[in-house]
Amino acid sequence: MATIVDIQQEKALEVKNFEFTYAGADTPSIKKLNMPIAKNAITALIGPSGCGKTTLLRSFNRIHDLYPGNKYEGEILFKERNILTSKEDLINLRIKIGMIFQKPTAFPMSIYDNVAYGMRLQGIKNKTELEGRVETALKSAAIWKEVKDRLKHDANGLSGGQQQRLCIARAIAVEPEVLLFDEPTSALDPISTAGIEELVVELKERVSIIIVTHNMQQAARVSDYTGFMYLGELIELGRTEEMFVSPREKLTEEYITGKFG
């Protein structure tokens, strides 16, 4: 059984006996996983490659559903409702639970249209409202100053770090409650990485954040809680400052001290 610290605050999500099996696989990639996710906090998921941390992250907005044959079991509770049922409205779920990917995913359109994309999907057509919210989102993502004079330019002309912040602006423009970050800085240089990390920390006042990272220093720098996963199981979930200093599980200690992984 996993060692799970008692989260004394409200929970954004709660994973209960969750199992996930990829299409065509015999054994589940995530096994009987239980995990609370604190609200308005940053939870980092760490662990060696193939441990299931990205698989878990991609279950929270059910992006796995784009590929046929994947199977969920157990429950993931969001606002006290299991989001894994077939009745779940995936469009609404994904508006509430946004995602930032490993590589920047700027759409082949202008900077402005990228940020407005999610809002337009929701039927917002009013130009003044759109402009205002685009500006707010870009400011929140700390990229407004760099792009305000070229909002009509192709988003693919931005640097990698700028594109990633643009994607964050696009994601927060629809005012989600949870943001999922899938190794958001693994394709970026150190300066851009620092910028994104700073941004993530600022965002937690408004959204609950789950971040998958290969970089343990990053987990230590930004997160409030850290979950260590190994072979599809959650080994330990603890307060970040405690877990990196005195992990309770031997496996966690071996991983964070670099004995394997």
Partner: protein
């Protein structure tokens, strides 16, 4: 000779042989183009465009009927083939993906791409011309559509699949329904590639003769009624070039020149698009 010298020597031999082969290939290409341009331009004049075909010996003789017929036949084939091809390619890439059905369609369209066009002409002859009782422009367009379809379908499929899946996921992650992801994100990412496929598809059918001989046949007069036999540049060129009359042969050269320039132009535009895409 040391080992290194030997290697350098072999390198030079291979390089010379491959360069020579390339030059020989290019020589024929430019030879053909050269003969075409010299004879074609010589045969071209205003009446080529302003007059329809006339019996041998008449001064006022041109290709207007064939040019217009060509535009009709290829135009209608394009109007039919492009949406069909793009939609079918979209099915393969976005819906069928790696399913059995999608793989079978891909295999069949690959085979169709290399099917001799005369066979397709004979097919349309059997299913359209025979029941109608006569040749028609429609039958020609149908034959060209069938030839164009697999080219556009496969390029669309390939180009859509080049759009990174994370881009689709990012759109879905914002709550986009699938049709909006395809139209607003995937098509936009692949538009240059799809356009290239369309141009190459049109260029391919614009030079077809054999399937038209079986379907739209020919007409020496101006005809814009698609349900009647219709002239085309290719069939007209074939008839004129193989005739014993010198003025008809000249018109044949003119037809060959116009046709080649049209297809060359389409290919160059397609290549410019591709270059622009890679340069990005």
């Amino acid at each position: 000779m040391t080992h290194t010298q030997k290697r350098i020597f072999i390198n030079k031999v291979i390089m010379s042989l491959s360069t020579l082969s390339a030059i020989i290939g290019m020589t024929f290409l430019f030879w053909i183009l050269g003969v075409l341009v010299i004879n074609g331009i010589d045969a071209l004049n205003w009446t080529t465009f302003s007059e329809v075909g006339a019996p041998p010996g008449y001064e006022e003789s041109g290709l207007k009927h064939a040019l217009i017929g060509q535009l009709y036949i290829v135009g209608i084939a394009t109007l039919a083939g492009v949406p069909f091809g793009i939609l079918a390619g979209t099915y393969l890439s976005e819906y069928g993906q790696k399913s059995k059905l999608a793989e079978i369609i891909r295999d069949i369209s690959d085979i169709m791409m290399s099917a001799p066009s005369i066979v397709i002409g004979a097919f349309v002859y059997a299913i359209v011309v025979t029941p109608m009782g006569h040749f028609s422009g429609w039958a020609g367009s149908i034959a060209l559509t069938i030839i164009m379809l697999p080219i556009i379908l496969r390029t669309t499929d390939d180009m859509l699949r080049l759009v990174p899946s994370t881009l689709r996921e990012a759109a879905f992650a914002l709550g986009a329904p699938k049709y909006k992801v395809i139209i607003q994100v995937v098509y936009r990412g692949a538009k240059v590639g799809i356009l290239t496929g369309v141009l190459l598809g049109v260029a391919r059918v614009a030079g077809e003769t054999a399937p038209l001989l079986f379907t739209s046949f020919n007409d020496n007069f101006l005809n814009t009624d698609m349900s009647e036999p219709m002239a085309s540049l290719t069939v007209t060129m074939y008839n004129y070039a193989t005739s014993p009359y010198e003025d008809w042969q000249k018109l044949g050269w003119a037809a060959a020149f116009i046709l080649s320039m049209f297809i060359l132009g389409l290919n160059i535009i397609a290549r410019l698009f591709l270059m622009k895409k890679r340069g990005k």
